[in-house]
C-alpha cells in the first residue's frame, strides 16, 4: 500500500518536506508551481476519495480545487510542511463532508448506491472470470456498505496509500482505533470473499 506513495517522486518530496526549505524563502511563483505539481499528483486520488464519501462529481471537483487553493495559502503563510499528504486528505475529507451535509436534505446518502459495483470488468478476463469477479465485487460492496462510516473511511484512506498515522490525523482518531478498525473490516471482507 505505502509503495504507491514511496514510488512517487512527489511522494518522496512530501515525505521529506519536514526538513525542506522554509516557505518564507520561496516566492509565490515557486509555491504556485509546487501546488500545481501536487495537484497533478493528487487530483485523481482526491476525486475518487471524495466521491466515495457521497458527494457528486462536480462537488468533488470543487472540493479538490478548494483544497489546493487552501494549500497555496497555507504554504504562503509559511505554515508547517510536515506531512502534506495527510494535510491534503484531511482538508479534502472535511470539505467533502461539509458539502455532503449541506446537500443531505435533498439527497440523503452516505455513499453512492452503486459504490464498488460499477467497476469496469477486466476486458482481458474470460466471461466466467468476469462473472466471478462481478459476484465478488457485489459481495464486497454489500459488506462495505453496512460497515460503520468511520470504518469505511479508514478502508478508503488505506486504499489511497495513507499510513495509519496519516489516517489517524485525517479522521482525528487514535492510532489504535485505526488499526483496530482496519483489522475488523478486512476480516469481515475476507469472510465475504470466502462465500
Amino acid at each position: 500500500m505505502a509503495d504507491l506513495m514511496r514510488d512517487s517522486a512527489i511522494g518522496s518530496a512530501l515525505l521529506g518536506a519536514v526538513d525542506g526549505a522554509p516557505a518564507a524563502d520561496l516566492s509565490a511563483r515557486e509555491i504556485e508551481e509546487e501546488v500545481i505539481l501536487l495537484f497533478d499528483e493528487f487530483r485523481e486520488k482526491l476525486l475518487r476519495y471524495t466521491i466515495s464519501l457521497g458527494i457528486g462529481v462536480q462537488d468533488a471537483e470543487d472540493v479538490t480545487q478548494e483544497v489546493f487553493l487552501s494549500l497555496f495559502r497555507h504554504l504562503r503563510l509559511g505554515r508547517s510542511r510536515s506531512n502534506l499528504r495527510g494535510w491534503i486528505f484531511r482538508v479534502a475529507h472535511h470539505l467533502a463532508l461539509k458539502h455532503r451535509n449541506s446537500r443531505q436534505r435533498q439527497q440523503a446518502r452516505t455513499a453512492p448506491d452503486n459504490f464498488l459495483i460499477d467497476a469496469q470488468a477486466d476486458s482481458a478476463a474470460n466471461p466466467e472470470e468476469q462473472l466471478n469477479d462481478e459476484r465478488r465485487r457485489r459481495r464486497l460492496a454489500l459488506v462495505f456498505l453496512v460497515l460503520p462510516e468511520r470504518d469505511r473511511w479508514c478502508l478508503l484512506l488505506r486504499a489511497e496509500g495513507l499510513r495509519y498515522r496519516e489516517i489517524s490525523g485525517v479522521l482525528g482518531i487514535s492510532l489504535g482505533a485505526v488499526s483496530n478498525s482496519l483489522a475488523r473490516s478486512l476480516a469481515r471482507l475476507a469472510r465475504a470473499d470466502e462465500r
Binding site: 500500500m1 505505502a2 518564507a24 516566492s27 509565490a28 511563483r29 504556485e32 501546488v35 500545481i36 495537484f39 497533478d40 487530483r43 485523481e44 476525486l47 475518487r48 466521491i51 466515495s52 462529481v57 471537483e61 479538490t64 480545487q65 489546493f68 487553493l69 497555496f72 495559502r73 504562503r76 503563510l77 509559511g78 452503486n114 464498488l116 459495483i117 460499477d118 467497476a119 469496469q120 465478488r136 465485487r137 464486497l140 460492496a141 478508503l156 488505506r158 486504499a159 499510513r163 495509519y164 489517524s168 487514535s174 492510532l175 489504535g176 482505533a177 488499526s179 483496530n180 482496519l182 483489522a183 475488523r184 478486512l186 476480516a187 471482507l189 475476507a190 465475504a192 470473499d193 470466502e194
Partner: protein
C-alpha cells in the same frame, strides 16, 4: 480480535502486512505465521481481501473521475492569488495582523497565558492549590503522561498465568532506532536521551509490547511522577496479578488509561511513596472504587 494459545491477532497480522509494526515485532509475527497454518490462512485471507478491495475501489471510482482536468482552472485561480501584490511580504506579515505568521500568534498567546498564570498563582489560596497547578501531567521537559493519540498502549495475547510464569518485570529497553522514532514522534528529537526512559505504557511484564504505540519518552527526574515511580507501580501490579488479587485486563487497562491515577488507586496515596519496596505490601491493596 486476539486469539488464544499465543496466536497473533488479525490486527497484528494486518499491521505486519502494512509495515506498521516495529521490525522486531514484524519478524516475530512472520516467524509465527510461517509455522502456524491457521495464522497463515488468516494472513492470506486478510491480504487477499485488502488487495481485492483496493483493486475494486480504484476501478470503480476511477470510472467516476472525469478525465477533463480542472488544472487550467486551478492555474488561473492561483495566478490570480499570486498576482495579488505577489502575496504578503515578511514585513507585511508583521504589519498586517491577519496575515501574521502562526508563531507570532503563539508568542502572543504564551505571553497572555504567562500573565494569567502569575495572577492565578498569587491568589490568596494559591498555596493550597499549588499541587493542582504543578501536577505534572505534562511539563516543559517532557510528557509524564503519554499522548493517547501517539501512545494508546498495545498488548500481546497472553494470559495471567503465562505472565506469572515468566517472572517479574525485568524490562528490556526497546532497540535504539525504535527509541529514536519515539522521540521523533513526540517532536523531541533534540531532547537529551539520558534524561528520559523510552518507557512501555503497559509494561511487557503485564503483556505490553515493543510496538511504538506502547512507548513514550518519560522523564526520569524532572518531576515527582517520573519513570522510577512508574516502575514501582509496575512491580506492584505484577505482584497483585500473580497473587490473584487483580485480573490482568484490569491492570493493563488502568496502566493504559492514566498510570498516575492507577498509582494513587493502588497505593492509596496522592504522592509517590519513598522508594523502599518493603512499603509495598499486598495488604495495602483495596482499590478505592
Amino acid at each position: 480480535m486476539r486469539h488464544a494459545n499465543d496466536h497473533v491477532s488479525d490486527e497484528e497480522i494486518l499491521m505486519a502486512l502494512d509495515g506498521e509494526l516495529s521490525v522486531q515485532r514484524t519478524d516475530q509475527v512472520r516467524t509465527h505465521v510461517a509455522r502456524c497454518s491457521a495464522c497463515r490462512a488468516r494472513m492470506e485471507a486478510i491480504e487477499g481481501a485488502g488487495a481485492d478491495f483496493n483493486r475494486i475501489y480504484r476501478a470503480t471510482e476511477s470510472a467516476s473521475v472525469p478525465h477533463a482536468s480542472s488544472r487550467a482552472s486551478l492555474q488561473r485561480k492561483l495566478a490570480s492569488l499570486t498576482n495579488d501584490a505577489a502575496g504578503p511580504s515578511r514585513l507585511e506579515r508583521w504589519v498586517n495582523p491577519l496575515s501574521a505568521p502562526v508563531w507570532a500568534y503563539v508568542c502572543a498567546a504564551a505571553l497572555l497565558l504567562l500573565v494569567l498564570t502569575i495572577g492565578w498563582m498569587h491568589r490568596p489560596d494559591a498555596q493550597r492549590e499549588a499541587t493542582l497547578v504543578t501536577l505534572p501531567y505534562s511539563n516543559a521537559s517532557g510528557p509524564v503522561l503519554p499522548d493517547v493519540r501517539l501512545t494508546p498502549g498495545a498488548t500481546r495475547p497472553v494470559t495471567g498465568s503465562e505472565i506469572c510464569a515468566a517472572g517479574g518485570p525485568a524490562e528490556m529497553r526497546p532497540p535504539r532506532p525504535v527509541q529514536q522514532a519515539v522521540f521523533h514522534e513526540y517532536g523531541m528529537d533534540t531532547a537529551p536521551e539520558r534524561e528520559y526512559e523510552v518507557d512501555h505504557l503497559i509494561t511487557p511484564a503485564l503483556g505490553g509490547t515493543d510496538d511504538i504505540r506502547n512507548l513514550w519518552p518519560e522523564p526520569y527526574a524532572s518531576t515527582e511522577w517520573n519513570a522510577h515511580v512508574k516502575d514501582q507501580l509496575e512491580d506492584h501490579l505484577h505482584s497483585l496479578v500473580c497473587g490473584g488479587k487483580l485480573d490482568l485486563a484490569t491492570a493493563q487497562h488502568d496502566m493504559a488509561s492514566n498510570w498516575i491515577s492507577a498509582y494513587k488507586k493502588y497505593f492509596h496515596s496522592d504522592r509517590p511513596l519513598p522508594r523502599t519496596s518493603d512499603l509495598i505490601e499486598d495488604q495495602r491493596y483495596t482499590p478505592k472504587s
